[in-house]
Amino acid sequence: MSRAEILKSIGKHKPPRRSLPEIPVFDTPNPDLLQQFRQVSEGIEGTVIRISGRVEISKAIHEKFSDVQQIAVSRSSFFPKALELKNFNDPHQLADVDVAILTGQFGVAENGAIWLRETDLVHRAAPFICQHLVIVLHEKQLVANMHQAYQRIQIDDNGYGVFIAGPSKTADIEQSLIIGAHGARSLTVLLSEEEC
């Protein structure tokens, strides 16, 4: 009932049809995307650590998180003896995960965002419910801005996909920026020279 009424009302009231504007190419003059990505990520309270490749992931994790109990990974090769996300049946069981290590598809230099798809997350809740999030990103996989980002992805190739830029935060109490609202309390990006 509502459907027909709404569509009829829109049909009656809408203005004459216009056409969509052409979208120009927005090229960023800065060629050093890596430097920009690092700088912006740190500006939004993220931590960026350069690593040579997969072999250095566990060392970086040990240094950054000395006393964590539970580490969960999307790929078993990321960390020895870590729990594999695929072995959790229910996302509620992830409530005790201290550190989750996931792979990002690519980063966006202008805002520090990283694109992750459902397949990268294993459980959609993983990057939110864990206390600390680590994203492994190949340093060659960077784009300049959001226009290029959307050219690269098919937003519906997975049932869910997300850009993550920094740790969870809020400024709802007197505009004081507090890191760690409901999602991860910290974000560490492991920028890898080799593909992991």
Partner: protein, 455 residues
């Protein structure tokens, strides 16, 4: 109470008014800094405005293809012509799943529909999960800003509120401590919620999915943990294609809080394995507004809140003074045309300085619309009676030159001779915070006649 009466109440606490004004101006300055750093900013605004207007010109077709694509993705699509229908749809979905608890992430639309009150009356536990929204929910107040719902509250008040409602230590109002307490309190709610509901920032016609932006991660905590997810959207949230997100996302967070992007930009297309996903498309007066040529552009709004942060009236009167779900400049042009309206005084809650137009990322002609609303017959009735009489008198005076000259002479004389008290008293609102210049002895006309006219 109308806007000017409520603002007067707000203004009585001078210190708070100054603090409120400064907090919002701080956000405005952050916005300016990041906007200026994007060389193509103005091009982006123009494109965003053109895209939104094109969407409005073909809105029914876009909604039909959005629905078709969403259904292909296994999403249940519902349509609600008004707020009541929307609430009933939500309630029916919850009942079908025997869900008795709902976690909500920020949605001005559900505020507009009065969803919380409706569900609570039907024995459903509703928890707002955005920190600011949770604060105002616990305080039993409406949000006072669309992006920063508790911007009117001081931390000491929040500390006391949390002490009484969620058991934090008495006297502790450290924002980090209070945020941590809210995190623990809400985490427990997320873990046992049976359903989650979010608003929608953008709905993509070509893919049938919705995009939600948050900094806290509350939308995702809710949606991914509860088996049932519901997204409520106004009909105007449509964008034709995914590539358009690039433009709107670059504008939204920069305009809203001076961030480059919100922490999380989530794209929901299909239900999670074993879950169910619903989208409710709500009209509630929007399609009528679409028919009003002078006012339809207000439907392009992406709810960034920039027009509030910049507005000299909003900053000094507070969001609650508007008495409408959406306050500030955009609220003052949306509300009079909506079925929930009933705020004909709002178009007068503006200085028409035009600052809102300058910051609006989709270039809505807000102050022109405010002006047009003032010309509307029903709205005109709402002007304060004193002001109306004064205007009628002014119209008469300006059309009778002799009377005008006499009045000028008399006024100049009296302004020089009367004691201060006669002008600066409590019935003359104008004089409460202003000083008159010293009245000259002769008018321009007298001077002209003497010096030039006689030549």
């Amino acid at each position: 109470m109308n806007h000017s009466q409520s603002s007067e109440k707000f203004l009585r606490d001078k210190q708070r008014t100054g603090w409120h004004d400064a907090s919002l101006w701080f956000v405005r300055e952050k916005r300016d800094a990041v906007a200026k750093a994007v060389p193509e900013w103005e091009t982006l605004r123009t494109l965003a405005s053109e895209i939104k207007q094109q969407v409005l010109s073909d809105l029914d077709q876009y909604l039909i293809s959005f629905e078709k694509n969403a259904q292909k993705n296994g999403v249940h699509v519902h349509w609600a012509r008004d707020g009541k229908t929307h609430n009933e749809i939500v309630f029916n979905i919850l009942q079908k799943h025997h869900a008795r608890s709902l976690v909500k992430s920020k949605s001005m639309l559900t505020e507009e529909c009065g969803l919380n009150e409706f569900l609570l009356a039907n024995d459903i536990e509703v928890i707002d999960t955005d920190l600011g929204e949770r604060i105002v929910q616990l305080a039993e107040e409406p949000p006072s800003h669309i992006v920063m719902p508790a911007i009117h509250k001081k931390k000491a008040e929040i500390g006391e509120l949390f002490h009484q409602t969620i058991g934090t230590e008495k006297g502790n109002s450290d924002p980090a401590y209070l945020t941590e307490a809210a995190r623990q309190h809400l985490r427990e709610k997320f873990l046992r919620a049976e359903a989650a509901l979010t608003g929608v920032n953008f709905a993509i016609a070509e893919t049938g999915g919705v995009v939600v932006c948050t900094n806290e991660g509350n939308a995702d905590m809710g949606v991914h943990l509860a088996p049932l997810q519901i997204h409520s959207m106004g009909i105007e949230k449509i964008l034709p294609r995914a590539e358009h997100l690039g433009i709107f996302l670059r504008l939204l967070a920069r305009s809203a809080t001076g961030q480059l992007l919100t922490t999380y930009t989530s794209h929901y297309h299909r239900p999670k394995p074993g879950g169910e996903m619903h989208i409710i498309i709500v009209d509630n007066g929007r399609s009528e507004q679409l028919g009003q040529e002078k006012f339809r552009q207000s439907l392009c709004c992406i709810r960034c809140g920039a027009c509030m942060n910049t507005c000299p009236v909003y900053r000094r009167s507070g969001g609650h003074s508007y008495g409408s779900v959406i306050p500030g400049p955009i609220g003052s042009i949306l509300t009079p045309g909506m079925p929930i309206g009933g705020h004909p005084d709002l178009p007068f809650a503006s200085t028409l300085c035009g600052s809102c137009n300058d910051v609006c990322p989709v270039k809505i002609d807000i102050h022109q619309q405010l002006y047009h609303w003032r010309q509307h017959s029903e709205i005109r009735q709402a002007a304060a009676p004193g002001k109306k009489r004064l205007m009628q008198f002014a119209a008469w005076l300006f059309s009778h030159p002799q009377a005008y000259r006499l009045a000028g002479k008399t006024a100049r004389l009296f302004l020089r001779m009367l004691p201060r008290k006669a002008i600066y008293h409590r019935w003359n609102h104008w004089g409460l915070s202003r000083e008159l210049p010293v009245a000259p002895r002769e008018s321009f006309r007298e001077w002209y006649d003497k010096n030039e006219g006689k030549k």
